[in-house]
Amino acid sequence: MISVCFYFQVHQPFRLRQDYNFFKIGEDRDYEDARLNREIVRKVAEKCYLPTNALMLDLIRRFNGEFKISYSISGVALEQFELFAPDVLQTFRELVDTGCVELINETYYHSLSFLFSKTEFKAQVEAHREKLKYLFGYTPKTFRNTELIYNNDLAREIEKMGYDAILAEGADQILGWRSPNYVYLPTPAYKLKLLLKNYRLSDDMAFRFSDRNWLDFPLDSEKYARWMHAVAGNGEVINLFMDYETFGEHQWADTGIFDFMNHLPAAILRHPDFCFKTPSEIAATHQPLAKIDCPYFVSWADLERDTTAWLGNSMQDSAAEYLYSLEEEMRATGDINLIHTWRKLQTSDHFYYMCTKWFSDGDVHKYFNPYPTPHSAYVTYVNVLNDMSECLKRRRG
């Protein structure tokens, strides 16, 4: 049997007020652009979350338990659903209640904390776990790190924390000639299952689907299922990992993406050797084929598949250093509101906005950047950090 594993990432950051200027430092503790955040969450809810959840629910019911999917919904996204989109939260609950949906654990704040502080990382994973329990009565068994950032150390840590499976990018630099269509064992682990994204098939759907210059345009569910069926005989799993916003937001409804998804499960299941499984089911039923060594960080971002979308230029590095330099003092305050605010600043998107890699060529990445330039993103972010730092100073007296 070949298991098809869908994992969708759901995430929305708390965006900052762009008018948070120098004069507000030490004066104004209100950092977030609540109006913009509400607007975006509502917009994406209408275009993506609500119609896609309805579609998924319909598919699950239609296939009587044969169609299964998994989600990782960041804590900051869940929090914004509670604030701005309880209807979205309700439909996710209905999905989880079907029993055909697995929820994946991540850092609550969709942060880069693993790169800076193990203590912080564990606290945020725990916070997300608690949130899933609180909202869905659910206990996760699978872990995925922010933006699929992964290396050996992370695998070791996650195994120690008791998870069955971990997700990562099927990046060429770690796979080499090997196929992503098997389950692997991370080098430092004993039983943790490593599921690697099949980036070709995933990106056909997530990125190339509506690209008119693509040789395989237009893509329909029959053709796509054919490509997947071709794996039969030389693979055991097909991991399709993508942003949930692929539906209706990255690929607008008029591209036919909903229709495509609606017909896809039937097309895939037409082959008798194919089934859908969630990550923890795969971990329970598949044995690892080999060990995978990954001493360096990989991620699912950009062509580089590394961490350079968030870290590496002087602005990103100085901002991250400043952020994490406040860690100990912040935790020592014991002030949960203050700590929560500081942790929201750890969300990787803030660093993504400061990325200068694609700025010159007007890349689509700009679409996700609310700031006019990476430099203005940095200036705003650092102003906010300076205010946080002031808060701490005043507590010290």
């Binding site: 120098f22 030490g26 602005m315 330039t373 430099h375 940095y378 300076n386």
Partner: protein
Amino acid sequence: MKVLMLGWEFPPFISGGLGTVCHALTHVLTELGTEVLFVLPKVYGEKEHHDKLELLGANEVLLTKKTRRFKKNVSEKTLTVLEVDSFLEPYQTELSYDQKVTKYTEKLDVLKELQEDITLGRFEFSGGYGKNLIHEVARYALIGVVLARNEAFDVIHAHDWMTFPAAVEAKKISGKPLICHVHATEFDRTGDNPNHEIARIEKYGLEEADRIIAVSQRTKDALIHKYGIDEKKIFVVYNAVSKEKQIEREHIKRNLKEKIVLFMGRITLQKGPDYFVEAARLVLEKMDNVRFVMAGVGDMFNRLVERVAQCRMQKNFHFTGFLHGREVEEMFAMSDIYVMPSVSEPFGLTPFEAMLYHVPAIISKQSGVAEVFENAVKVDFWDIQKLADSIIDILTDKEKAERMVREGGKELDKISWNLAGKKIIDHYHQMVGS
């Protein structure tokens, strides 16, 4: 005495110090009994009016079929100076990077194009410093011709090169004396890499002028050495500062307890913002209870943000972006030192403005204001070590800071537009021989 005054900026339409200076000067001249017809490319908003001042937009001047023809109306010499064939971009603004990217290099036959470019018997003007600047300067020259024919005046007073061709034409037709007022030369604006077409127009106006007012000795020297202008006709009249303010230092709420060192101005090569950043780095190696603030926008903004990040000064160095009206005053009033590290500054009003809010100033020796401001600390713009030492000195020596404010305040009291205005009126009288 009636003056035909030709300018390019006037509040509320200002992009640099020129508009502010023209406004203050015009007011004091009219207060002293001089009539002024102030012409600028386009008047924005409500027109300021009183019995001695008339504000006129060049875009309102009616042109007949005959007067709009360049070759018939504008003198041969002026035509030659105006015939340029390259794209002009005299001011570095925050837009200039994008503009450069889309910059077109095709030759412009300025005069031919202008001939047809007229609606309802009037020329259109934008009044900025955009890519059609040379077109506007040429159109403005033709307006000079029309004004000289239709208006009565005793003397022509022209501010900076954009207005010089119009002023020369007005002089040729009216026979009235011309006084050219130089607030900045092309060499100041470009860090000694002049645009040759602009320099040619500037030189032409200066040669044709009967008298020249330079805003500093430094500017006068530049006119003598760069353009070979006869020094006998150049006179220095220093700018003054408008003393209107809404905010007092004592009443400002300070959110941060650290001392604040301020740079305020365009973030462009001419203003030396990069030296400010490097000096900040040196200061922060020795003390940390200080914050540096860079207020303004400009084409070096991104580079300096990255430099500040690279030096890990994120806790002590802040960028405010462009500040408006009241924010400018607040920023001054919050500051403990004002730094003007200009590479080349014909005058530079801002240190006196800072003094209005009791902020001691460190200024570059390469500024005109350094000639008159006794109680400012003066350093070479490139000497970042000296600049850093001076900052530390003033921040740590309370007595010195107080002395600079006290004595500087006395100097400020002595400076007035009234005095500058009187000097200029004397020149008018001498020129018309009354």
